[in-house]
Amino acid sequence: DAGVTQSPTHLIKTRGQQVTLRCSPKSGHDTVSWYQQALGQGPQFIFQYYEEEERQRGNFPDRFSGHQFPNYSSELNVNALWLGDSALYLCASSLSGGGYYGYTFGSGTRLTVV
């Protein structure tokens, strides 16, 4: 049973560029949450998607946007990249109604902005 799959695993972008990160949830899960983990810090909640809608959003600027597809997979888009956006981006999937209960995390995408 495949867990959460994130792609790519590593990415290097230049300041000002745009990036798209992808996440395929664990089989049977329909809710996807995105977290940003900066170096030396814990994961910070970006937003959660359920039924193709953003259900809740953390304290992140509008440069961070997302999408959920009918097959429950999700994308995280970041526009106008800053150096400070360099981080590990984690995707977590779960069952509807559970929010964070039963989160399964992916291994993350390491984004480096130069």
């Binding site: 814990g42 995390f105 291994s107």
Partner: protein
């Protein structure tokens, strides 16, 4: 604003001894607490949780204690094993909220 704090960035313990990891929180609305374990190049995995209506929860070698009045929780690992070497994150949430607030993590090293 860091609502969940893990003030010890690292902990070294001898195999077979007890590991005690601490976590403090500032938001009195938090009513559910979790611990996650993370190995390098892997995502965090759920370890154990506790609801605010309890003050202790055990699962095998892992025990979590909650002191609501002090806004403090701790994770005890006894006995510690080499495979326990990892980063441990404390996380908290509010009922009907969809997000977790994480601490910065504590790196545990178990020495043989």
């Amino acid at each position: 604003d860091q609502q969940v704090k893990q003030n010890s960035p690292s902990l070294s313990v001898q195999e077979g001894r007890i590991s005690i990891l601490n976590c403090d929180y500032t938001n009195s609305m938090f009513d559910y607490f979790l611990w996650y374990k993370k190995y390098p190049a892997e995502g965090p995995t759920f370890l154990i949780s506790i609801s605010s209506i309890k003050d202790k929860n055990e699962d095998g070698r892992f025990t979590v204690f909650l002191n609501k009045s002090a806004k403090h929780l701790s994770l005890h690992i006894m006995p510690s094993q080499p495979g326990d070497s990892a980063v441990y994150f404390c996380a908290a949430s509010v009922t009907n909220d969809y997000k977790l607030s994480f601490g910065a993590g504590t790196t545990v090293t178990v020495r043989a």
